[in-house]
């Protein structure tokens, strides 16, 4: 019975909101807010129709691929540089002000520049995503590396855990909660940048498609695009949370234990 109540509480508001949207817009004559029923109606045709030539394949997949590529590069760069900088106080002092300036640049601001340098193809979009995503990862990695517990570090030294083994077994693991925080921030930023780069200058992609719909006043289709973007954000977020829980299970447990002391 409790489970049912819980289940109900989780679903109640979303269902109510959807119902309100459906019925309130049902008789809508407004150009910009078509009935939800119409939006749902055009959904399949807009995205799925055409099999291999469907927008799902020609636009969504390339967008995702660019996001994945840019994100992966940003993670590798961010963690790699973060490990180096975090382990050396001198290097950190040297680079910190310059890094802070770069970090403060709102990533969308460099889009026009990168368009001029790299065209409107995949390279530009990947670069935009890399530029935006690398900073949260890098800075959080530096913070995590610095915060390795000195007692743990001494213990590792005593038992002869040095060099690459030390980085792998001690530093990376110890800094992982912080690194994951950075990666989470980077992911939501990456999604935004992916869309922006496509809205600003592109020939295909999710952002491009949605803007095209808007420009050609295909309003219900535009709304489906908005919904797809929303779903994308949610799915990636849920997926990330899932992976995070697997990797950081120990951290949650430890924090719980400390809270109850």
């Amino acid at each position: 019975m409790r489970r049912l109540v819980r289940f109900g509480q989780v679903l109640a508001l979303p269902v109510v909101l959807l119902a309100v949207w459906w019925f309130a817009s049902a008789s809508s004559q407004s150009l910009y807010f078509p009935p939800l029923s119409r939006i749902v109606g055009v959904f399949p045709d807009t995205w799925v129709a055409g099999g291999g030539a469907s927008r799902l394949v020609t636009d969504v997949l390339p967008s995702l691929a660019r996001l994945a590529g840019g994100y992966a590069i940003a993670v590798a760069l961010g963690i790699g540089a973060g490990l180096l900088i975090g382990s050396s106080p001198a290097l950190r002092a040297l680079t910190e002000p310059v890094l802070e300036i770069f970090r403060a640049i709102p990533p969308p601001a460099v889009v026009p520049l990168l368009v001029a340098l790299a065209g409107i193809d995949n390279l530009m979009k990947v670069l935009v995503i890399v530029f935006g995503c690398v900073w949260p990862i890098l800075l959080n990695t530096v913070a995590g590396v610095r915060a390795v517990d000195p007692v743990l570090a001494d213990t590792a030294r005593c038992y002869g855990i040095t060099g690459p083994a030390r980085v792998r077994r001690l530093v990376l693991r110890s800094a992982s909660p912080q690194i994951v925080t950075g990666m989470r921030q980077a992911l939501s930023l990456g999604i935004i940048l992916m869309v922006i780069s496509e809205m600003f200058a592109a020939s295909n992609g999710l952002g491009f498609t949605v803007v095209q719909f808007q420009r050609t006043f295909s309003i219900p289709e535009m709304w489906t695009g908005i919904i797809v973007l929303g779903l994308l954000g949610v799915c990636l977020s849920v997926g990330f949370r899932f992976v995070e829980r697997r990797v950081l299970g120990w951290y949650d447990g430890q924090r719980q234990a400390h809270r109850h002391e």
Binding site: V151, L152, C158, Y159, G160, I161, W250, Q254
Partner: protein, 272 residues
């Protein structure tokens, strides 16, 4: 096994220098269990870190198995006071105990054997897959001890390992150390601020003076080899030794002129 000669350690603090250790000289022979005791702030932890190769001495030498210490020597295991922070929280108990063995590149079967034996020896045979933060303080320290035991060290250093543990658990852990030492015969140096503990555990007790620190006294404990928490601590000899060491420490802190002479025993070694 352990040879400390003229050890001196000076720290440079913000605007002054702190002489944590002035001149320490003592030795620990193979297979001995020696306790180090001293007033608070006398640099016991600094001494241990110099022995463990975590700190470089300003002057003097530290020899472990005849070789000077320039970094953490192989064959040495250290048990720290902060057990919670010395165990890897992302690894299970068994993985924690196994980690140094993997570093030593031992084959898998041998590692499994050593881990199982060590956990059994400390009484944690049924908790290999638990995580450290799921265990109580005493159990976590047992894991740290098991890790040291599984390493099969030649020398074991312990830095006030039971200071942060409650009294009853401390008694159990003290007996655990005695039994491990009796079984394996590993050379053990045990640093503590608890005088009773030092006398209960040690074959010898090295008493440190207050800062600037030198060896105040090097005392042989002539209690029976088999120690028991109730019986041994009730012995009159225990009380004599205890009083003597306590008085020595008070003297080191400058609160008393001279310790009463110990009846019947000539203390071995002394300062200088």
């Amino acid at each position: 096994m352990l040879d400390v000669r003229g050890l001196r350690k000076v720290y440079a603090a913000k605007d002054r220098t702190v002489e944590a250790l002035r001149d320490l000289t003592f030795r620990v022979d193979p297979g001995e269990l020696v306790c180090v005791v001293g007033p608070s702030g006398c640099g016991k932890t600094t001494l241990l870190k110099c022995l463990a190769g975590l700190l470089d001495p300003t002057d003097g030498t530290v020899l472990v198995e005849g070789r000077p210490v320039t970094g953490p020597p192989p064959g040495m295991a250290v048990v720290f006071q902060e057990y919670g922070r010395s165990l890897f929280p992302w690894m299970s108990v068994a993985q924690n105990v196994e980690l140094p063995l993997r570093q030593k590149k031992l084959p898998k079967a041998r590692r499994a054997r050593l881990v199982a034996d060590a956990l059994a020896a400390v009484g944690l045979a049924d908790a290999p897959s638990a995580y450290p933060w799921q265990l109580s303080g005493g159990m976590q320290q047992r894991v740290a001890i098991a890790r040291a035991v599984a390493y099969e060290p030649h020398v074991m250093l312990m830095d006030e390992p039971f200071a942060a543990v409650d009294a009853q658990t401390r008694a159990d852990l003290e007996d655990l150390i005695r039994s491990i030492w009796a079984r394996t015969g590993v050379t053990t140096l045990f640093v503590t601020h608890d005088i009773d503990e030092a006398i209960y555990l040690g074959q010898r007790v090295v008493v440190l003076s207050a800062s600037p620190t030198v060896v105040q006294e090097d005392l042989t404990i002539d209690l029976p080899r088999r120690r028991d928490q109730l019986e041994t601590r009730a012995l009159p000899r225990f009380t004599e030794l205890r009083t003597h060491v306590y008085a020595e420490i008070r003297r080191a802190q400058g609160r008393e002129p001279a310790a009463p002479e110990l009846p019947g025993v000539v203390p071995t070694g002394s300062e200088g």
